[in-house]
């Protein structure tokens, strides 16, 4: 098999699985889940084939999709080191989450729909990774949006899930509008939307880099990666099943926005990069604060994801796309682990999600707890864990750039350790605070295996020297660039000290402040207004809600009046009436008598005669 064939097989395997499930196994949960897991395994195996075949080069393949005259839309693969790194991560983590879902969704009635959705999602996600042009990326971008919509709303009967899936879909459309404009502008500007061709054009003439295109394309990233101001959908999306949160809203789809930026990094001028840096940093800090106001274990993790996405965006904005990719990969490992761990706990506690109703989990679910804590340590950036290396690199990059971003991002690290410490102390230690928690039981093998594998990766994933040579080329480049920058040694020491201080202070501080296995939130008790402010996510949702309810709704009301009277009343009814009238007239011409029909021919001939003799021209 050539690399191209392997990639095609990897791309089509989940599509086939989804088709089989949709057409034949809609009501056979067991068969459907088996097919889906096999497809996920096939993706991973084919990806490995492709990477082995690729060597250290890259694979480019392209097929014409639509051709007419000189206009051509093609579909193709652009598979380089970056794509290979991302593909390996998505395929592997995706496979583990599929396996986890086998156990987690075992009792679900609509299992076939769930696994079909997972397969469709994998197909769309691989499409984004492999696509070689912006139009193709956009198509698959919308497909992940659709599958995310479908999976968030999996628990159809709850009001919350329905509202959350709708919110995610609509908020993403706002970002995609900008994305679409960016694509059209890019096509107009460069004459192509192919990534390598655009790279060639920009490399030949750096003046062609256009800030407007970059800003428009960035809108797609802001929507998909839930950056400010479109971040509001991600916490709500936690209404979906936990494996979905792990797969889509932690490891892969939300990171696809960052990956997309890395793919088109050459299109970004300094000004836009600076903007992304500030944006990412502010989200990193903002989300860190919000996490303190949450009691739902998944929502805490969701804000943590937002915050870490902010770190990635900051790394990209600082001009180190490789470091952003590095953090994306390590984050995928430990955040998938944390979400799956949370899923295991929720499953064990009979779908209890409030951390103040848990407590004492460590004794009941030891393996889950150990792997979860390892994930927390990786997230906090403890020396030697994967998160340390990538976060360290981001902080150094920020330090080299300037003081403000550096201090904000370092402060973010303190916040991270704090809210994760809060979660750990309250959930795992002390005494069980509800019936559900006291009857908690360790999960089954299919759920523990992914946890263990991911825990190993969360510890070791950052050891770049052990990565296969085909992967992470761009990461190595940026690491070298960072090492050779002036002032690296000083910053390195400073970051090492501050970073270690962050996790020690954060974890210990939260222990002292909240206490082991606390039954109520100390912050809420001592400083209720602050807590309320954090809990309400700094009122962003309220502001949007106000805007939608008071301004947009009124405007919509006005439009609706216009719609009813002018469009529906006059235009639609009127035109329908007109069409009907003309239709009656034309119909009445078909009188059914041959005599009448011959006159039609005669009239036609007279008309042609008139034209032929040029009489018509006289008028």
């Amino acid at each position: 098999m050539t690399a191209t064939q392997s990639l095609l097989a990897a791309l089509l395997a989940p599509l086939l699985s989804a088709a089989l499930i949709t057409f034949f196994f809609r009501r056979r949960g067991v068969i459907a889940s088996t097919i889906s897991v096999v497809a996920a395994a096939a993706i991973f195996i084919f990806s490995l084939f492709a990477i082995r075949e690729m060597g250290t080069g890259s694979v480019v393949a392209s097929w014409d999709w639509l051709t007419f005259g000189n206009f051509n839309v093609s579909m193709g693969f652009f598979f380089d080191g970056t794509a290979a790194t991302m593909l390996t991560m998505v395929a592997f983590v995706g496979f583990l989450i599929h396996v986890f879902s086998l156990g987690y969704m075992a009792d679900d009635k609509a299992r076939a729909r769930f696994f079909g959705g997972l397969s469709i999602f994998m197909f769309s996600m691989l499409g984004i990774i492999l696509a070689d042009n912006l139009i193709m990326i956009f198509v698959f971008w919308e497909l992940v949006g659709f599958s995310s919509y479908m999976l968030i709303g999996h628990y159809l009967d709850t009001e919350e899930a329905a509202a959350a899936s709708k919110k995610a879909f609509i908020v993403n459309r706002i970002g995609d509008l900008g994305f679409l404009v960016g694509i059209v502008y890019a096509y107009w500007h460069f004459g192509t939307t192919n990534i390598s061709e655009m790279h060639g054009i920009v490399a030949a003439n750096a003046d062609l880099v256009n800030a407007v295109i970059a800003a428009c394309l960035m809108c797609g990233f802001i929507g998909k990666s839930a950056q400010f101001p479109l971040h509001v959908w991600l916490p709500d999306a936690m209404a979906g099943p936990t494996p979905v949160s792990a797969l889509i809203h932690a490891a892969t789809m939300v990171a696809a926005g960052v990956y997309f930026l890395i793919r088109i990094a050459f299109l970004f001028p300094e000004s836009v990069l600076g903007g992304i840096g500030i944006l990412g940093t502010s989200v990193a800090v903002y989300a860190g604060f919000c996490a303190y106001g949450q009691n739902d274990i998944k929502k805490i993790l969701a804000y943590s994801t937002l915050s870490q996405l902010g770190y990635m965006a900051a790394a990209f904005g600082l001009g180190f796309p490789g470091i952003a990719l590095f953090h994306l990969i390590t984050h995928a490992f430990f955040k998938a682990l944390l979400f799956l761990g949370a899923g295991s706990i929720i499953h064990g506690c009979h779908h209890e999600q409030d951390i103040f109703k848990m407590g004492g989990i460590f004794k009941k679910m030891p393996i889950t707890s150990i792997t979860f804590v390892l994930g927390v340590l990786a997230l906090c950036g403890v020396y030697g864990f994967s998160g340390f290396y990538s976060k360290d690199a981001i902080l150094i990059a920020a330090g080299l750039d300037g003081t403000l971003l550096f201090f904000l991002l370092t402060g973010g690290a303190f916040l991270t350790a704090g809210y994760m410490g809060r979660l750990v102390w309250i959930v795992f230690f002390g005494k069980p605070k509800s019936d559900a928690a006291s009857h908690a039981h360790e999960s089954g093998f299919t759920m523990l295996l992914p946890l263990i594998v991911l825990a190993v990766l969360s510890v070791t994933g950052g050891w770049l020297q052990f990565w296969p040579e085909q992967l992470g080329h761009i990461i190595h480049l940026d690491e070298v660039k960072l090492h050779n920058a002036a002032g690296y040694a000083d910053k390195h020491h400073l970051v090492l000290i501050l970073g270690s201080a962050a996790w020690i202070v954060g974890l210990l501080g939260s222990l002292l402040f909240y206490g082991k296995g606390a039954t109520e939130d100390q912050l809420e008790k001592r400083a209720a207004p602050v807590y309320g402010f954090l809990k309400d996510r700094l009122w962003f949702d309220e502001i949007y809600g106000y805007y939608v309810a008071k301004i947009q709704q009124r405007f919509a009301g006005l439009l609706s009046v216009l719609d009813v009277f002018v469009i529906k009343g006059v235009l639609v009814r009127g035109s329908a009436g007109l069409v009907g009238l003309i239709g009656m007239c034309s119909k009445s011409q078909h009188v059914g008598s041959i005599h009448g029909y011959v006159y039609w021919f005669l009239a036609g001939l007279i008309f042609f005669w008139v034209v032929a003799t040029g009489v018509l021209k006289a008028f």
Binding site: W63, D64, W65, L66, T67, F68, G69, F71, V579, G580, I582, G583, M584, S586, K587, Q589, H590, G592, I594, G596, Y597, V598, W600, F601, A603, G604, L605, F607, F608, W609, V611, A612, T613
Partner: protein, 502 residues
């Protein structure tokens, strides 16, 4: 005289040109073989005849395709300028064969519900197929007229095939009168052209004034001659009858309604396609020099056709008339592509063929469902008969929805891409007015196509089990209809699967 004839025949056998029209000859043999088989075979084995017809045509299709790839697709002239083969005509051979195979299959279903002689139906369908193949390959007006008449005369019989139905007989009579009228108009145009092109007073006059090449040179120099203009327009008028363009569309609804449904499908797809290919070859061949005259005329005809077809279809309740009237509208869209080809968009003819293929797939899906659902009273199929079809026969409902969706041009179905190609061609030819009218027409068409789909899917849920005549619905029906829809979807998603557009 005998010597001359022998010499003539020897000329052909020497370079073996007969092999060039082998598929047509094989079809003729097959058609005659069917009649022979009916005489020879005992009565109880007559069930073999439809099979023979189907498999025989499939065999010819294979032969035609392999021969096509063997001979190659270069343009070449044969039989002293009677036949001119191009890549388009090679492709259209396959197109017509697929049509006639589908018509024979639907005819088999139709005839199983009627008390009618069976063999002649297949015979005539195959003869028409062979004649249409020759029609699109002809590059001489005598050849063209003879082939056209073969098609038309066979259709006179097919349209009136259901002798027990007064509507079918009426349709046959109307088609006969109208067809004869249009043939006479066409012939009159040919005669005028022949006469004027043979006039030794005029530049580039020719002894072989029926040949397309000679005519092209002559007309290019004498495009202002009144007789040339009138002759060309009369020829175009004759072709307009075939494709059902305004103002020669008036026969369409009555004839479509009265004919047996498979024949309606044949008329709607194959006969119309043949007309369009002939029109394309005329306007890009002999009538090339008359662009200044023909572009405005055909533009007007196209606009009127699109508007008339769509408006008249809106209030229609009989589904066969609806298909006929909407078919008029489709003819209008294709005419836009023909005009684009006249204005020099080199790939526009291929866009037309692409559209014809998507039209074939979608139309036969719809006509297939209609044939299945029709009772013995074939002509009166109303929209009301389709109420709650999706609940009663979900498979047929799905096929119908896909076929109608493709006809209306909804992505990701093939009809969307077909329309897209035509409209881009029109855009490149700067036919903005026609483009606007076409888009308007498409919008109107969605109204009545989806009205039909609505009847199937969102009709009033009634508990009474409606008795419907269930035709035996076996696996091969399922496969055939499914294949049409799958083809439509594949073309819609991967247009390159149909490598027509160069």
């Amino acid at each position: 005289m005998n010597d001359l004839l022998a010499e003539f025949l020897r000329g052909y056998t020497a370079n073996n040109q007969w092999a060039i029209i082998m598929p047509e000859i094989m079809l003729a043999v097959l058609a005659l073989g069917l009649l022979g088989a009916e005489m020879v075979l005992p009565k109880k084995s007559h069930g073999l005849i439809p099979r023979l017809a189907l498999w025989g045509q499939l065999f010819v299709l294979v032969v035609a395709m392999t021969a096509g790839s063997y001979i190659g697709f270069e343009s070449k002239s044969y039989f002293s300028g009677m036949i001119y083969q191009t890549d388009i005509t090679q492709f259209m051979r396959g197109f017509f064969l697929v049509c006639s195979i589908l018509v024979c299959y639907l005819g088999h279903i139709y005839l199983s519900k009627q008390q009618l002689p069976k063999t002649e139906f297949y015979h005539l369908v195959i003869i028409i197929s062979a004649a249409m193949m020759l029609l699109v390959q002809s590059s001489n007006f005598v050849m063209l007229f003879v082939a056209l008449e073969t098609v038309t005369v066979a259709f006179y019989v097919l349209v009136a095939y259901c002798r027990s139905s007064s509507l079918s007989l009426e349709a046959g009579l109307k088609y006969l009168v109208m067809g004869a009228l249009s043939s006479s108009i066409l012939l009159f145009g040919i005669v005028l052209l022949y006469g004027v092109a043979g006039n030794p007073e005029l530049a580039f006059n020719s002894q072989d004034a029926l040949n397309f090449d000679e005519l092209r040179n002559f007309i290019a120099l004498n495009s202002d001659n009144l007789l040339v203009r009138v002759g060309a327009l009369l020829v175009i008028a004759g072709i307009c009858f075939k494709i059902g363009a305004v103002p020669f569309q008036i026969w369409v609804p009555d004839v479509y309604q009265g004919s047996p449904t498979p024949v309606t499908a044949y008329l709607a797809v194959a006969s119309k396609a043949a007309g369009f290919i002939v029109l394309l070859q005329l306007v890009t061949g002999p009538f090339m020099g008359l662009q200044g005259l023909l572009v405005p005329v055909l533009s007007f005809v196209a606009a009127a056709t699109i508007l008339f077809g769509n408006f008249a279809a809106v209030t229609q309740r009989n589904v066969k008339r609806l298909m006929g009237l909407s078919g008029i509208a489709h003819a209008g869209y294709i005419l836009v592509g023909v005009i684009a080809a006249m204005r020099g968009v080199a790939w526009a003819p291929y866009a037309v063929i692409f559209y014809l293929v998507t039209y074939l797939l979608a139309s036969f899906a719809v006509f297939g469902v209609m044939t299945h659902l029709a009772g013995s009273d074939d002509a009166n199929q109303e929209l009301d008969d389709y109420e709650n079809l999706a609940r009663k026969r979900p498979f047929l409902g799905g096929i119908l929805a896909c076929g109608l969706g493709s006809l209306a041009g909804i992505p990701p179905l093939g009809g969307f891409i077909g329309k897209l190609f035509l409209f881009v061609a029109a855009f490149q030819a700067e036919l903005f007015g026609l483009l606007g009218i076409s888009v308007l027409g498409v919008v109107i068409s969605i109204y009545y196509y989806f009205g039909w789909v609505r009847e199937c899917y969102f009709g009033n849920a009634s508990d009474e089990v409606i008795h419907d005549v269930k035709a035996p619905f076996n696996m091969s029906d399922r496969v055939l209809l499914g294949a049409l829809v799958v083809g439509t979807v594949i073309i819609g998603i991967v247009p390159a699967a149909l490598p027509i557009i160069p």
